[in-house]
Symmetry: C2
């Protein structure tokens, strides 16, 4: 495994302002050493904002919230991911019925996944925000496939009621256009470029 901390000569503490297990796994896979301190902000969606602005704004609020708690020389990572279909935000389903309704809407359609990332360097006060957009196309699903997926429990903690990285999510998606890891919850290539930038 590569140690990004070593390659980029990072000597500041890194803090992830998110307790998302998928983000934690992706960053660990990069060989990055970091602490997890979830932010404490209201995540209600302001549906007036366009999704790119929305996810960048929310990632900034999360990073800022944790950066101001700490106030040392840390680098703080904020991120927010949203699923967007024809002008509507698709959130985490509240129950199985809502999961079914969401998956029926995604069925045979192309939707967008947006992730905003904000990095704050508490040492230099440098702040950068960017976003990634990926088009995701679902094939036509049968109701049996949707029921089987909901029974597995996987849709319940995920915006848009699916995870492309889990067993059956992979079977639903026929095509993507953009960064794959954006759909998982953190566009790794964008994050890596931003990390190099914020260290400068």
């Amino acid at each position: 495994m590569i140690k990004i901390s070593k390659l980029l000569k990072i000597n500041q503490k890194i803090v992830l302002a998110s307790k998302s297990p998928r983000r934690i796994t992706l960053l660990k896979n990069l060989g990055l050493e970091f602490d997890v301190i979830p932010s404490n902000i209201n995540e209600d969606i302001n549906e007036k904002l366009q999704p790119a602005e929305y996810v960048m704004e929310l990632s900034r609020l999360k990073a800022d919230n944790v950066a101001s708690m700490l106030g040392g020389d840390e680098i703080v990572i904020g991120a927010d991911t949203t699923v967007y279909l024809e002008g509507n935000y698709l959130n985490k389903p509240k129950d199985c019925n809502e999961a079914f309704a969401i998956l029926k809407r995604l069925n045979g359609q192309t939707h967008q996944v947006f992730t905003g990332i904000t990095l704050i360097n508490n040492q230099t006060r440098k702040i950068i925000s960017e976003y990634s957009k990926t088009d995701v196309t679902f094939r036509e699903l049968t109701d049996d496939e949707i029921y089987a997926y909901i029974e597995s429990g996987s849709p319940m903690d995920k915006a848009g009621a699916y995870g492309i990285q889990d067993d059956f999510g992979a079977v639903f998606v026929s095509h993507i256009n953009g960064c794959y890891y954006n759909i998982v919850g953190l566009p790794i290539e964008l994050f890596y470029r931003m990390l190099k930038e914020v260290l400068r």
Copy 2:
């Protein structure tokens, strides 16, 4: 986890004619039960064939080789993946120097990954072959990043000298257009549709 064998009511033995650890993992993640019997064929590339024809042809040869060894009522899966850049096939690197040369060629460019899949139903003699194509765009890499990646050992057993699923491969790829799992070695959504078809 979902059991595809149960959802699709499969009562035939499934055999994967490939010992690729990535294909084995992807199929296990689907909850598919299968045996692994690698094929015994010559994989030399006939560079006259176009990549789509080439990967389908080779997947058919692999599946056919194993299906004829068995000759019961199995379903046999053959697959072949190739990396293609501007008219050239990029194979597994022979050594670190070749890995470096391949990664330098991919640097900042868009290449294609093709996977051919053949399914043979020994019970009905039904045979289907299809392929998936994904465009993969690398960002501009520094030589230090390439050296660090080669040092990790990851490029050595992979066509095109990278694995999108491993730690640093993810950092190289800025954009994909097509199926993500095709790049890993088996386009799962295509495979699933073909499996439903060959069972009919």
